[in-house]
Symmetry: C2
C-alpha cells in the first residue's frame, strides 16, 4: 500500500484567505488541518487544526491560557469575529517549518513517520510539482488497522 492508494482530494487555502474563513472550512468539512498553497499551487504551509486555532488566538492567551479567563464569556464566544479580515499571511509563523509532503510511492510506514515527526494529521502528496491531494491520519489508521 502506497500514498497513491490512500490519498484523497483535499481543499486548499491561500495565504490571502481570511483566518475566520479558514476556521469555518475546517469546521464545516471536518478536516484535520489545512493546506496553504502559494501562487504556483505548491504547499506553502500545512496547518494542523490546532495551528489554525493558533492563528486566531491572541498571543498573550497562548502564553498563559489562564489569562484568557479575564475575557468575559460574551466576548470569548466571539473570538473568531475579532479577527475581522485578518489573513493567513499575517498570522503564519515567520520561519517555515518542515512540511509533511511526500510523493505517491511513500509507504504507510513513511507516511506514519512523517505525521509523527511533524505532528501533522495530514500529509500532502505531490507528483512532479503538482499537488495530488492528501493522506489523513484517519485514512491511514483505517487501512492499517483493517489489514
Amino acid at each position: 500500500m502506497r500514498a497513491r492508494d490512500l490519498l484523497a482530494a483535499f481543499p486548499t487555502i491561500t495565504i490571502d484567505t481570511p483566518v475566520s474563513q479558514a476556521a469555518r472550512l475546517l469546521a464545516e468539512q471536518d478536516l484535520p488541518g489545512l493546506i496553504v498553497i502559494d501562487e504556483h499551487g505548491r504547499p506553502a504551509s500545512i496547518l494542523p487544526g490546532t495551528q489554525v486555532l493558533r492563528l486566531a488566538v491572541p498571543g498573550y492567551c497562548q502564553d498563559d491560557p489562564a489569562l484568557a479567563r479575564v475575557i468575559d464569556e460574551e466576548h470569548a464566544d466571539h473570538f473568531l469575529d475579532a479577527l475581522a479580515g485578518r489573513t493567513v499571511r499575517e498570522a503564519l509563523p515567520p520561519r517555515p517549518r518542515e512540511l509533511p509532503v511526500t510523493d505517491p510511492d511513500a509507504t504507510v510506514l513513511e507516511l506514519a513517520a512523517l505525521m509523527a515527526r511533524t505532528h501533522s494529521p495530514l500529509v500532502a502528496v505531490m507528483d512532479e510539482g503538482r499537488l495530488l491531494g492528501a493522506v489523513t491520519l484517519q485514512a491511514l489508521l483505517d487501512r492499517v488497522t483493517s489489514l
Copy 2:
C-alpha cells in the same frame, strides 16, 4: 459558553493498554486523540493522534522518514503488528509534558488557547479530581463558527 456546554464523554486508555489497541480505538471511533488515565482515574497523558502514531513508529524512521522506505511494502503495511504486546507505558515519552486539562468553567477562548499552546485537538475537563469528559477541536469550532 463554557467547557461544560461543549464536553462529551470520551473513551480512556491506561498505561497498560497495548499500543496496537490504542491505534485501533483511535481509528474505529474516529477520535482526534486519546486520554491515558492513571490508577486514580486522572489524566497521565493526553495524546494527539499523531503522538499515538509516534508510539508505533520506530525511532530511526521518525528521525529520517526517508529511511522508512528501505522497509518493503509488505512489512510497512503491517508496522502496527510489529508492536505485538508493547504497551503505552513502554512507549510514552519519559518527561511529562504540559497537559491540556481544564475545569468546566473554562471559556471557549481558554479552550482554544490550550489547544493551540499544547498542539492538542482535545482538552480533558476535570472537576474536583474527577474526569468529566473532553472538548474536541471539532466540537469547539462547530460551535464558535455557528454563533
